[in-house]
């Protein structure tokens, strides 16, 4: 994307992608990136993480208490469960950003 707005938002998007995969979390980076990819429509991951990430990606309004609690039990704290939830949400959001950025970049200014 060649506009200033494009560069600005692209920088924010990449910073967010890097934050999910960074070293400031209490959970393993590989778990966060797997969950993020799963919510973006990527390959299955393990057990309760897979169920929650898929649900967040496809229909977050159908997430249940039990799905969040299963992840909280697996990771051992609210803070770690929060990281899993956020990683999934960001994966779903950034895959949409990528799709839109591509479509806008490929669009011409000529009438459709």
């Amino acid at each position: 994307m060649s506009t200033d707005a494009g560069a600005r938002h692209r920088d924010h998007a990449e910073a967010l992608r890097a934050a999910v995969a960074g070293d400031t979390g209490v959970t393993e980076t590989s778990l966060r990136t797997a969950v993020s990819a799963r919510a973006a429509g990527g390959p299955p991951t393990n057990g309760p993480y897979d169920t929650l990430a898929r649900q967040i990606g496809e229909a977050s309004y159908q997430v249940t208490d039990a799905e969040v609690e299963a992840v909280r039990q697996a990771v051992g704290s609210d803070k770690a469960a929060f990281e899993i939830v956020m990683s999934a949400c960001i994966g779903a959001g950034l895959t949409r950003w990528d799709a839109a950025a591509r479509a806008i970049e490929e669009a011409t200014d000529a009438p459709a």
Partner: protein
Amino acid sequence: MRLPEIERGDSLRSRALIRIISMALGARLPDAARVAFYHKDFVGPVLGAWTQDAMRGPSEWSVAERELMAAMVAKWNSCPFCVGAHRAIAVRGMDNAVADACLTDYHTAPISEGLRATLAVLETMTLHPDQLKAAQAQAAIAAGATRQQLTDAAAVAALFNIITRYANALDFAIPTDAEFEKAAAMMLKRGYA
């Protein structure tokens, strides 16, 4: 709220902030703000900076139009918290009837053709991202949206495809209409960062 530590706050400072802002607001601090105060070593500051830039930074869209886009994404993602919160901010800068017509059916709402075609892009991006093609972006440009406007709108939609998901997954408490009003005034004054 499904993770109680987020509701309580994870430090003395965040617990004090929750208490003080709730008192100043005259209402329970909405769960969205509690998430923003929580585990700030992780993604929160980066997400907050992008949200502030997309929603309050330079753009050819008004603040009200961007807030309406946020409410529309929330509608498509079935997130009642974000519909209520962002409709309440949008109507401080646009007619209630226009915002509500848009939320009912943007295809027939009294809005510009550029905004209508941009909302069509955002709807596809939200519900069927794999089907979003250059032709739809091109149609929005032909309808009067600039490439920069489309990019700004896509950033708003990307962010609210994140925010609506955690609002739903964490089961945010739904404020009353009066509480949404109070929070809207605060969000216009203080922003998202």
